[in-house]
């Protein structure tokens, strides 16, 4: 048991380091999109959901409206609600600690909590959640400071790093043909919508690609 516990802690910290490294690219992307270092750090501290944060600065960076940016971030954040439902059945958290647990509810902490051996779900959740939170925020600060010193982000190709980051986030989610079809449809909708709608809207329209899957059966 003790050995299994240590393995869970080691994995949780390891995930924190890996994800933290990716906070570097968020900090850089946020500053590239025109946010200040403070704003970038505030997003990592308060919003703390990688894909939503990237979406928010991505839409703002391409000149999208604040409403479209927020809507995109919220839509991507809905999956955390589902994670939380699963987690609340798995580990009993009451009172004020529930608010802390809620903030730490993300892809990685949920995955570790559900994958942990019997009785170690709480360890997996808290270790992973806290280590990702700390390292993600440190890395955001470093990435933002680095990019702020740089001046023109295009010289280092940072604007090309953003779509590649989204692709790397998307790839592990495309596990079957249905998801591949949904991804392709979403991409196509966005492509068609770019010349026709204001910035930020194409991404939201892409989300409609789930509708055919839901009404079918």
């Amino acid at each position: 048991m003790e050995q299994a516990r240590r393995a869970v802690i080691r994995d949780g910290v390891g995930i924190g380091i890996a994800v933290g490294a990716y906070g570097l690219s968020f900090g850089a992307a946020a500053v590239t999109a025109g946010l200040t270092t403070t704003q970038a750090c505030a997003l990592s501290l308060l919003l703390f959901t990688g894909a939503s944060q990237f979406a928010l600065v991505g839409v703002l960076g391409t000149g999208g409206s604040a409403v479209a940016a927020v809507a995109g971030a919220l839509l991507l954040g809905t999956r955390n609600t589902l994670y939380a439902v699963r987690l609340s059945a798995l580990l009993p958290v009451r009172g004020p600690r529930r608010a802390v647990a809620a903030q730490l509810t993300i892809d990685e902490s949920t995955a570790m909590a559900t994958a942990a051996p019997e009785g170690l779900a709480a360890t997996g959740f808290w270790v992973t959640g806290i280590s990702v939170y700390v390292l993600w925020n440190l890395a955001t600060l470093l990435g933002a400071l680095g990019a702020a010193r740089l001046g023109d982000p295009g010289v280092l190709g940072l604007d090309a790093a953003v779509p590649a980051a989204f692709l790397a986030l998307l790839a592990p989610q495309v596990r079957d043909r249905e998801r591949l079809a949904v991804a392709a449809a979403g991409g196509l909708v966005a492509l068609l919508a770019v010349p026709l709608t204001p910035a930020g809207i194409p991404v939201l329209l892409a989300g409609l690609a789930v509708v055919p899957i839901l009404v079918r059966r």
Binding site: A42, T62, A73, A89, A168, G186, P202
Partner: protein, 95 residues
């Protein structure tokens, strides 16, 4: 930014507060699980090809191409991102 932060937090808290039976609503569950897929795909396309209300093909596309190859090779996240940036930077430097 604050609205998005608060909203995303409330979405998380909501999940901790509803009864587990909510999860049984299969269609809702599928929607929440599937939604990030087209949204991320849309973000890839927009970030790589969108100009000011037009589609453009520039160094970003080349960077994305290199990134895509690395994703297919299951390269780590940071390598994908750095290689994409380096490709675009290199192209701009020589053109």
């Amino acid at each position: 930014m604050l609205v998005a932060s608060l909203g995303c937090f409330l979405l998380k808290l909501l999940g901790w507060s509803v009864p587990a039976s909510w999860l049984e609503r299969e269609r809702l569950q599928r929607a929440a699980v599937l939604l990030p897929v087209p949204l991320l795909a849309g973000l890839v396309v927009v970030q790589a090809f969108a100009g000011d209300r037009e589609l453009v093909l520039d160094a970003r596309a080349a960077g994305l191409g290199v990134g895509a190859v690395l994703v297919l090779l299951r390269a780590p996240f940071l390598l994908v991102v750095v290689a994409a940036a380096a490709t675009a930077a290199l192209l701009r430097a020589v053109s």
